[in-house]
Subunit: 226 residues, 2 copies
DNA sequence: CGGCGGCGTCAGGGTTGCGTCAAGGACGAT
DNA sequence: ATCGTCCTTGACGCAACCCTGACGCCGCCG
């Protein structure tokens, strides 16, 4: 099911949107200010964000930047401002679309469908499995196989693995890892990483004490190598 | 270079668009009707299509479907119609965005940038690797390779290397180096530089005592040369 | 010719960061 | 209510890293 995060400080707009979305089979969360929006986005991982620019606590463009710091989730901006400048700023900050209030519900939903459709697996159905040494990771099916048997991963383990695999070969900073897996407010609890990296290695590495695929770069972060 | 296909039957609009696009470094083709649009899209493989719906020979939605049959290239629709129905139809047929005439050039260009940005390689873009003598530096992956083997750098070593490489060929003052790597309050501890430059040279230079890439400018700073 | 400042090298010691283990607590299922 | 799973948190040993001081070399200038 597609999950939508609605961010607006006017309750009636939020209500109208949420009702319409749920009626059409979407799952909908809502937030009334920027801080809540960033928190919810991290916690719930929506498939698309509908964002009003006129929030009480922070500039809408800042919210866009906050999201774009760690995710490519589509963002559709709502705004009462018609000014061209506003639009350009929001779009260049990373927004995907810009709709001016008052808006037609049909149009918004159509734009939402377009945004979701675009974000779908690029290939269009092919699985993307990554093979490494003695095990394979299937991103689409959320499955890990080793020596012919499926490996059971806890949600957190899987999430961590997913982030690493999506950046195969590249270093992922510990702060980035923590924020992508545990949320924006977890930037320093590096002990979480140590514990969960150990579990991943125990479950996936041939020799957990001499990892060949989950490599730690001291002081910086971790790297997944095929 | 990014290639844009402009489809519209009004010559002055086409002209205005093409001029603006070329002025901003885009490559631009144009078509005046649907048949030409489909032909040109197939021949030139544009990175994004700007499509007017009011074409003389066929319905704009048909053009969208014709394109979507074989490509996911972003399509930005232009139209004089404000009706919600038109927008929904176009978007659901596979358009990525819908702009009503008259439109602001700034806004259209911003939407175009957004569309192109989205379509970029999902993985995270091209690598920027710098090659020098016997080793390569990959800024994105934070990797250094020498003679086919990965070189392990400590955080401070890497940080220093990064600053130097980002200023390839130019002199970087010692004060600037110290402040960028160790923090604003470190402006005079030049011995740090000596120690860490030595380690970089030992790890990367073919002959560390006669450096060819990490060059000392006595009394001033250091310079990285390819 | 002698002094001096800047640079490169080396090695030791304090500190930080990492891996590991285990216990406690929240939550849902049986 | 009991069990099991998962997440969190603390403690400990160990290795790696960062800082620091000492020494010698070279070029410049008096």
């Amino acid at each position: 099911m597609t999950r939508v995060l609605v961010v607006d400080d006017e309750p009636q707009i939020v209500r109208a949107l949420v009702i319409n979305l749920k009626a059409r089979g979407y799952e909908a969360d809502s937030a009334a200010d920027g801080a809540a929006a960033l928190r919810l986005a991290a916690a719930r991982h929506p498939d698309v964000v509908v964002l009003d620019l006129g929030l009480p606590d922070m500039d809408g463009v800042e919210v866009i930047r906050g999201l774009r710091g760690w995710t490519r989730t589509p963002i559709i901006v709502l705004s009462a401002r018609h000014s061209s400048d506003e639009k350009v700023q929001a779009l260049d900050a990373g927004a995907d679309d810009y709709v001016t209030k008052p808006f037609g519900m049909d149009e918004l939903l159509a734009r939402l469908r377009a945004a979701v459709r675009r974000a779908e697996p690029a290939g269009g159905g092919e699985e993307d499995v990554v093979e490494a040494g003695g095990f394979t990771v299937d991103l689409a099916a959320k499955k890990v196989n080793r020596d012919g048997r499926d490996v059971r991963l806890t949600p957190t383990e899987w999430h961590l693995l997913e982030v690493l695999v999506r950046h195969t070969g590249r270093l992922v900073g510990q702060k980035q890892l923590l924020q992508e897996v545990w949320g924006p407010s977890y930037g320093t609890e590096t002990n979480y990483l140590r514990v969960y990296m150990a579990q991943l290695r125990r479950k996936l590495e041939a020799d957990p004490s001499h990892p060949r695929h989950f490599i730690t770069e001291p002081g910086m972060g971790y790297r997944f190598e095929k």
